[in-house]
């Protein structure tokens, strides 16, 4: 499937770019033009129920609570 998509990708990009053409404008990254949206550093908080459900969602978790992932290639 990957090869097929990659074959089509070129066509998709070519056609999309063709419609666009060129324009000399600033880029719009954000629709809402805000700056300095910050919060105060206070009231640390944890949700135990969240932690429980998260463990259930984990594909591999050991009895200590670590998520088990792959071993680093370079230490093998």
């Amino acid at each position: 499937m990957v090869e097929e998509i990659e074959r089509e990708a070129e066509k998709v990009l070519r056609e999309l770019s063709q419609v666009l053409g060129e324009v000399d404008l600033e880029e719009t990254y954000y629709v809402v033009e805000e700056i300095n949206v910050t919060r105060n550093d206070e009231n640390p908080d944890l949700d135990n129920e969240f932690i429980e459900i998260s463990k259930k969602n984990a594909p591999r978790v050991d009895e200590e609570g670590y998520f088990i992932t792959e071993v680093g290639r370079w230490v093998e």
Partner: protein, 456 residues
């Protein structure tokens, strides 16, 4: 051969909550993966909370302390994409530079950024703990202005001191992490990751320089690559070579509007930020007419430097040189011995003033002063209480001293005969015994004089 060394240094900031969520930053006693929420482990649908203001202000202050210019254009928070087990969202949020073009000890500071800490991954077992994921970090990128592992170590020590002066980084220690890059004339630039201490940096550089020079000697090329430092084995190993160099596909995080730092904000932070340690050292030498070694010892910690100044100010009758010597030889020595910081010791300027004043009025001896310092640190009581409780006041009554001298002579015939036989250092031993008997309350100089007279 010319060797150029640069660093990317990461240190955790001292905030109450994480950078983009309200999880606590103090995870040290938490069980694995219990100091987490949907934001800091990349649970589907979670969005970053607005940026932690204290973290931003801390980075500005650190950048200013490192003589950086503060960027006055919009500072985007970028997503730096890479796939690694400790990175819960598959990207790390890292700000564009907040500070630029600074320097410390003649080493260029290229950029200072605000970042989020990833989780902790053990590549040997594959275990991941996300408790620290999302803790704010300051990232400091230096120019390759260092040339030897020793220079690098000194620089890192000074940097640590500057950071701790601000009080804006975590004080527990052991949270500094760094990558280093090293290029030796004739070879390619090599990056080393996974360094977790100054000692580690020193060892990694030592190993790497030897490795590269050996390759060159054999006429082999030093490839451009990224290596990992394996601390336990004290070696570096290839992580990836240049061809696999990562493209981080940076984009501004659409969930976080940019930051814009105002002139007022910079002025406000400048006003409250502390004097840099190297500037303080120079000032102390000049203002108090003390030696470099004394000044170095005292400015090793901002709390100690502040206390020194307070003591000098409130005891104008006492020569600052004397106070400096007291700080260096009595306090700093004890702290070094116990391997604790001045702040951790609990010593206050009040304690120090009490001891110096009693020392000055000869109410206690220098040994009494040492015991008083020890008492304050170990028993967490004020110096005045310790001096009373332990009876550290200097013995005025001559007969008590005379009695102790007589006893010491009687109990140590060997030392006495050694002394009389010409071994003058044997007398010091007897003085020590007398001091022990008087629990440090006798004046050692007086005891020495009396002993000499007695054994003539």
């Amino acid at each position: 051969m010319r060797t150029d060394i640069g660093f990317e240094i990461h240190e955790q900031l001292n905030t109450a909550t994480k950078l983009y969520c309200d999880c606590p930053t103090d995870y040290r006693n938490a069980k694995p993966n219990t100091n987490i929420c949907e934001v800091c482990v990349g649970i589907p649908g979670a969005k970053p909370f607005p940026v932690n203001q204290v973290a931003i202000d801390s980075v500005i202050e650190i950048a200013l302390m490192l003589n950086c210019e503060i960027v006055r254009e919009p500072i985007y928070i970028q997503r730096k994409h890479y796939d690694y087990p400790d990175l819960p969202s598959g990207y790390q949020r890292t700000s564009l530079p907040i500070g630029k073009n600074g320097n410390l000890l003649g080493v260029g500071i290229w950029e200072v950024h605000l970042e989020e800490d990833p989780g902790k991954y053990d590549p040997t077992s594959g275990k991941v703990d996300y408790n620290r994921s999302g803790v704010p970090l300051v990232e400091i990128v230096t120019a390759p202005d260092l040339h030897t592992p020793e220079e690098a170590r000194n620089f890192l020590k000074e940097l640590t001191k500057v950071l701790s002066y601000t009080g804006k980084v975590r004080s527990e220690g052991g949270t500094m992490r760094m990558d280093t890059n090293i290029s030796i004339e004739g070879g390619a630039r090599v990056e080393i990751k996974n360094i977790n201490s100054i000692k580690g940096a020193y060892r990694a550089l030592k190993f790497e320089i030897t490795r590269q020079k050996n390759l060159m000697k054999k006429g082999r090329a030093v490839k451009r690559e990224t290596r990992a430092f394996l601390e336990a084995q004290m070696i570096t190993k290839t992580m990836r070579v240049k061809e696999e160099a990562e493209d981080y596909r940076y984009i501004p995080d659409p969930d976080l509007p940019p930051l814009l730092i105002s002139q007022e904000k910079i002025a406000k932070i400048r006003e409250i930020m502390p004097e840099a340690p190297h500037l303080k050292l120079e000032r102390f030498m000049k203002q108090y007419e003390i030696g470099r070694d004394d000044a170095w010892a005292i400015t090793s910690e901002i709390e100690m430097a502040d206390s020194f100044e307070e003591v000098c100010k409130s005891m104008p009758e006492i020569d600052p040189k004397y106070i400096a010597s007291f700080f260096r030889h009595l306090i700093k020595k004890k702290l070094n011995y116990d391997n604790i910081s001045f702040r951790e010791s609990g010593l206050t300027s009040e304690d120090i003033k009490t001891i110096i004043s009693k020392l000055n009025s000869k109410e206690i001896t220098s040994s009494g002063a040492e015991l008083a310092i020890r008492g304050v640190i170990e028993e967490k009581k004020p110096a005045s209480v310790i001096i009373n409780e332990k009876g550290l006041t200097r013995i005025e009554e001559e007969d008590v001293v005379v009695k102790a001298i007589e006893e010491a002579i009687k109990e140590n015939p060997q030392a006495v005969s050694d002394y009389l036989g010409g071994k003058t250092e044997a007398l010091n031993y007897i003085v020590g015994q007398v001091m022990k008997k008087t629990r440090g309350r006798a004046d050692p100089a007086e005891v020495l004089k009396a002993l000499k007279a007695r054994l003539k």
